[in-house]
Amino acid sequence: MQKSKSIPLLIAIILILSLALAACQQAAPEPAPEESGEVVVPEEPVVEEPAAERKVATFIWTQEFDNLNPLYTNMWFSSITQQIWNASAWNFDIENNPNPVLVTEIPSLENGGISADGRTITIKLRDDIVWSDNTPITAEDFVFTYEMVTNPSNIVTTSYPYNLITAISTPDELTVVAEFEEAFVPWVANLWRFVLPKHVLQPVFDAEGTIDAAPWNLAPTVSAGPYVFAEWESGSYTRFVRNENYYNEPAKIDEIFFRFVPDDASQVAALRTGDGDLGTFISQADIPTLEAAGVEVFAVVSGYDEGWFIYFGEEAHPALSDVRVRQAIALCFDRPSINRDLLLGLTEPAVTYWDNTPYANPNLDAYPYDPAAGMALLDEAGWVDSNGDGIRDKDGVELTLIHGTTSREIRQDTQAVAQQNLAECGIQLDLLSYSADVYFQSYGGGGPLPTGELDIGQFSSTEAFPDPDTSRWLCNEIPTDEYPDGINDQKICDPELDELFRLQSTQIDFEERQQTIWHIGEIMYENVYWLGVWQDLDTWAVSARLTNVNISGADPFYSIAEWDIVQ
């Protein structure tokens, strides 16, 4: 009996110890660190006004940062946060136009920032910019950034475009000159998008020969943005506090928490209950619920367009080599209803790969939903239902196509609609879905689209938004056994298109480049190399507490210092 009496006691002790363990680990977060080295002199006691309540915002992120050092991450959730605590030479406003941040002006041909041959890009730094510890930001920091990106001892996520720089120099401490072997046109979206503090990281590199494991990577306590890193509780949240040494107008909100809530439904619940002030990647199905709870939802142009990528490799279905069949697919697929019904009318069918940018050809309209016209094209191409099974065929080959995409809900719904639409035109669509890590594998990794497992792939893509550059359709990017990492998954090699893509990457003049890309868009449209399904806008949910919120597609937090909270 003695033993049975002790069991409840034991349980109680374990529970109490468990809770005590939690309590012991950490108390409430401390307020923002003071960056003052002055000796504090005791003063006469004065009657102080009650301190204003601290303004604290909580953002809900469905993915936890992998790393905060931009050298070591391309994760979207981490990269966009850079604008909060770090700074770039320039950022992109709500119209996705570049605005100077660390530089005095955006380089151009007119101000001499870009050389006539497009090979040299010169930036002039402001003379009042400092790191959060008050150390001046100079050209040396930019050169150090270049050196760290290109040093083989550092396992950086991408060395582009710094690997293209042939020489870098600093005529004075506020000027950085980068020289490229060839004209480098997409510099505005790729160059100097971040800068590393040399005075913090150089000693680490000198001691260890690499900055892969530098404490700054996960705790960048010295930075150049309106906020500065305060703490990171693994799996729970990251906290940023106002940078008191910020060289522009100080941020209005005192602290920002990023809470990591991986489940979409839980994210929505947190926004509805007011536990979060901002969330992103909101599913269209959740928008009415959030709006009913007083949460405002923004759709922001981020350059992404959801599209069908038709496969042209040797294993492709023979029908897809006929442009009339591809055009028939475009006409038989009811994309307007997908946008109207599945996407709640928030989007429109994408016409070109560059919709909502100056590079979208204004003379093109989306293929209408016209199954009669589609069927006429199929008849003309010789694809008819000769055996009465409801599926068109030609030379004994049935018009059955394999469509594959990721397991994202909206894509699965789209697949179902497309299958029904195309069946009405006599085209059978067999559906496959994959987890994202499998779906986006390269040819060498056995990815389903580049290996010819699919006839049509569907996903959303952009490469260098807001710059239009892409090498996705270059002939030399077709993956092979010898070059398994090529990114031309569709294996399209159209010499005219190839030449135009190469031309645009050398055109410094905006209008000339625009014309080239409009022409590219026209060729892709007429040949249905890529069929836009919807303009994949980023959806942001913002609580009524947050005011003065402006979100840009390229740099969502470009104006974070101006955001405020209504208590």
């Binding site: 363990l21 939690a22 108390a27 083989p152 390269s442 952009t462």
Partner: protein, 343 residues
């Protein structure tokens, strides 16, 4: 007993090596960590080739396994990509306690990543296991002692409901009811996610409050499971001759139930607990994800999705060791509960 334990531990060494090899090969075939490194864009071909070389992913899987197991500090590796191995490796290997560094959280030691999450998982899973055991025992025993009564029938019905409900449904329903609707109705609502409110801090009260919904979701299904096993075991024991003898001797009912019946009925439950013990460390993948509980289950899922081999291997190997140890512990408990058992 000591010899038995030593023998079992020695036997487990080749077993763990075989498990590690199989898991390593499987993990290498399920995903490509480089595929996700481009963020929302494909990884650039030149970056892919460089990263594969720098991370050692261009090596044959057998070489990768050997480096993972015994390290690469005895050989030279090619860091700069000139095709000449000229830099000494720095990895010591799992056998020397070096689980490597995460591919995703570049440069952070795997063991540090795992250790950050272990206390959080134990904090959720130990109370959950205690609640499951205690409630399972009470409900199962009560149900067995009142077989075919309306209470037994009600418990049986509820058990089957709990048994057949997926945990994500219970979790999402409980969030909707206790967090969203309670707030709308002006009632004190429970937090929908997280381990504590970061603006308040990690206090005992905060953790306890945030623990209620995930603990409820885990316990709801497992109480149903345990109570069914205990009911069945109790019914079997209560019909044994020694229970009849005890009743004939005039022993008090509670003495018969708690000293004679429950102790014997508990033997099969020990097996069940033994099988569940590793989950104390593994965490509850679905529950942790839905409630944003920063535990091992979520860590495993997050890193598996990005094919972060070193972290995933670290977790599964630690779990494999824990499974072996929990089985040895189960055997020892058997012997303690039933003096007839000898090893």
């Amino acid at each position: 007993m000591t010899r038995y334990i030593i023998r079992r531990i020695l036997q487990s060494i080749p077993l763990l090596l075989i498990i590690s090899l199989i898991l390593f090969v499987l993990l290498n075939s399920i995903g490509d960590p480089l595929a996700m490194m481009g963020g929302r864009n494909p990884t650039r071909p030149e970056d892919r080739a460089r990263l594969a070389r720098q991370l050692g992913l261009d090596k044959p899987v057998t070489t990768q396994y050997i480096y993972w197991l015994i390290g690469n500090d005895w050989t030279l590796i090619d860091v700069d990509g000139d095709g000449i191995p000229d830099t000494p490796g720095i990895r010591k290997g799992v056998l020397r306690g070096d689980f490597g560094t995460s591919i995703v959280t570049r440069g952070k030691p795997v063991i540090e990543i795992i250790w950050e999450r272990v206390p959080n998982t134990l904090l959720l899973m130990i109370p959950a296991q205690i609640v499951i055991l205690v409630l399972g025992l009470i409900v199962g025993t009560y149900s067995a002692l009142r077989q075919y009564s309306w209470i037994d029938n009600a418990i049986t019905t509820l058990s089957f409901v709990g048994f057949s409900m997926p945990i994500f449904l219970i979790a999402l329903l409980s969030i909707y009811l206790f967090a969203v609707l309670f707030q709308r109705w002006g009632l004190p609502n429970l937090p929908a996610n997280g381990m504590f409110d970061p603006q308040v801090g990690k206090t005992a009260g905060q953790v306890a409050k945030h623990m209620i919904l995930p603990l409820f979701s885990i316990a709801f299904i497992d109480v149903a499971r345990y109570s069914r096993y205990i009911r069945s075991a109790m019914l079997e024991v209560m019909s044994q001759d020694y229970i009849r003898t005890a009743k004939a001797k005039g022993l008090k009912r509670y003495y018969i139930i708690f000293i004679h019946a429950l102790r014997n009925a508990f033997l099969p439950i020990v097996t069940l607990v033994g099988l569940d013990l590793p989950f104390l460390l593994a965490g509850a993948v679905v529950t942790e994800r839905i409630f944003a509980w920063p535990g091992m289950g979520r860590l495993f899922l997050d890193h598996l999705q990005r094919a972060d081999g070193p972290v995933v291997m670290g977790i599964v190997i630690i779990l494999a060791v824990f499974v072996v140890l929990s089985q040895i512990l189960t055997d020892i408990t058997y012997a303690a509960l039933d003096p007839r058992i000898r090893y």
